[in-house]
């Protein structure tokens, strides 16, 4: 009898030993809904945070100035910055629609435009601007737009004169160099080394420097305004908070099981999305070839962007300290890496985007996911992705996860 008791005791003991780890595992799963510590850590890095924004805009001393934010916000809506007097930044970047070009103004102005206008939510968090990354700062990006014949189609002299005439009285501190501008010979024409070099050369070096300084102030004020253009929190962000707090009840109410399955796929190394789409804006700031180039046509890819960047008079090396701009100093120029590559875009608030990829080739996110399942690769072409093995129901899960990145809580 006692022998039987002892053996039962031993059996229970052995079973409990075997069962112990399982029991613990189940417990942990309850708190974290089946996510591992590593996965939660990874999700924390995807959570929205604007921490990096100051560091990324170090070259803009006006970035946090209230008067610059105010001037920038007026300029963003000011059609006077355009050559035609008809369009403003806000024409192509609609504030009510995630600053996306919902009316396709870009293509109406130039049906051959190489790139579609991206939305601007969170743009101040980026390292590079434009799909080819030809601008290395938010402020120099704005200057390129003003002088781009396909966009605002103006020139720096006209822009500076306009800003002084309209805003000098309201922003005396910011526009303290306007008196110098008013001493320039009055002339109906514009001037810029890029679009009107003949006129530009009529000015002395000192005058050209003054114009450039004022022009840069315009760009830095627009960038200061864009600092406030941030995506609101999404359900995904709140889900991460709930996981970190161990609040599984709240987490379950934030993402449904289909969205969680999509999130799992998104983080899965075999699917690979998170390799490129990571960080708080779901972009690793890199340039990759994902089989979206159009061989035979002019590429407008990173390869060309690097050349334009290094030639730009407003890049960080030419308009700042070399120590402050390792990303330009050590920029990858190897065309094996840059050909056919485009900037990794953010995946937040895709619902506002009228089309997808740099050239707007897809109208729906479903079509983008289908692209990743079966990228049209050509022989001898360098591509950084492999076909993602996604079953139809998994594509649906991925899609519903991407929708949970929209800021509108009802989405």
């Amino acid at each position: 009898m006692s022998r039987i008791l002892i053996s039962i005791c031993a059996l229970v003991f052995v079973l409990s030993l075997i069962g112990l780890p399982f029991f613990h595992e189940a417990n942990a799963e309850n708190v974290h809904l089946g996510w591992s510590e590593d996965e939660i850590e990874l999700m924390r890095r995807l959570r929205l945070s604007v921490e990096a924004v100051a560091d990324k805009n170090r070259s803009n001393e006006l970035f946090f100035r209230e008067d610059a934010v105010e001037l920038g916000s007026r300029l963003f809506n000011d059609t006077g910055l355009s050559g035609s007097g008809q369009i403003a930044c806000a024409s192509c970047h609609r504030p009510e629609s995630g600053f996306q070009d919902t009316e396709s103004v870009t293509y109406r102005l130039n049906p051959q435009a190489a790139h579609r206008a991206p939305g601007l939510l969170g743009v101040a968090m980026q390292d590079w601007f434009f799909w080819d990354g030809r601008a290395d700062s938010l402020w120099s990006q704005a200057l390129a737009v003003i002088e781009n014949p396909q966009e605002l189609a103006s020139d720096r002299l006209r822009a500076v004169r306009h800003v002084c005439a309209r805003y000098e009285n309201s922003f005396p501190a910011l526009l303290k160099d306007c008196p110098e501008i008013s001493t320039l010979p009055a002339a109906p024409w514009g001037a810029s080394p890029l679009v009107d070099n003949e006129n530009w050369q009529k000015f002395t070096a000192a005058q050209r420097e003054n114009i450039n300084k004022m022009f840069v102030t315009i760009g830095k004020s627009l960038a200061a305004f864009e600092r406030g253009v941030m995506p609101p929190i999404s359900r995904f962000d709140l889900y991460v908070d709930a996981l970190v707090e161990g609040n599984s009840v709240a987490a379950k109410n934030l993402l449904n099981s289909k969205e969680v399955a999509g999130l799992k796929l998104f983080l899965d190394p075999m699917v690979g999305c998170v390799n490129c789409h990571n960080g708080p804006m779901f972009s690793n700031s890199g340039f990759y070839a994902v089989a979206t180039d159009s061989p035979g046509r002019r590429e407008n890819d990173r390869k060309q962007g690097v050349t334009l960047l290094l030639n730009s008079e407003f890049n960080c090396l030419k308009w700042g300290n070399a120590e402050d701009c390792p990303k330009v100093q050590y920029v990858q120029t190897d065309t094996a890496e840059t050909a056919g590559a485009y900037k990794v875009p953010s995946l937040r608030n895709l619902r506002h985007a009228p089309a997808f990829m740099h050239d707007g080739r897809y109208q729906t996110v479903e079509a983008v996911i289908e692209h990743y399942r079966n990228p049209a690769t050509l022989p001898l072409r360098h591509v950084d992705i492999r076909p993602a093995a996604l079953l139809p129901h998994q594509r649906g899960q991925l899609l519903s996860f991407l929708k949970a990145l929209n800021s509108d809580p009802s989405n």
């Binding site: 890095r45 690793n284 390792p326 050590y330 920029v331 190897d334």
Partner: protein
């Protein structure tokens, strides 16, 4: 295989020749001690590293034109930046501008005259 990769085929060939050929060939084939010192790596930061190259007696080799190459074995692409290597004297070289934007397994190679003199694997974290 690791030996072949580390010293390059031509150097191994030169080593075989040593018994019969000129001393200078032997010198080139001599075993180099190459080290690269890097901190733990994460995405989206810039790193500097110290490279040392010494002969088998531990004497630093100067005047080398070294290059760096990096790739992810699981992916098609290489380094997102173009790091530069400059000489510091006494066989020391500084590596600047190294950065990664994809987490995972990376292979970093240091090349001299197109031959790999060091090959190291790193795991880059988020």
């Amino acid at each position: 295989m690791p030996f072949v990769l580390r010293y390059g085929l031509s150097k191994i060939f030169a080593l075989l020749l040593c018994g019969v050929a000129f001393a200078s060939v032997c010198a080139a084939a001599e075993k180099w001690e190459v080290t690269l010192d890097l901190p733990p790596l994460a995405v989206n930061q810039f790193y500097e590293g110290l490279l040392t190259v010494a002969d088998s007696n531990g004497v630093g080799i100067t005047g080398l034109r070294l290059q760096i190459r990096g790739r992810m074995p699981e992916h098609a692409h290489g380094l997102p930046t173009a790091p530069q290597i400059t000489e510091k004297g006494q066989g020391r070289y500084s590596l600047k501008g190294l950065s990664f934007n994809m987490p995972g397994r990376w292979v970093i190679e240091i090349l001299h005259d197109g031959e790999t003199v060091l090959r190291q694997e790193y795991t880059v974290r988020f």
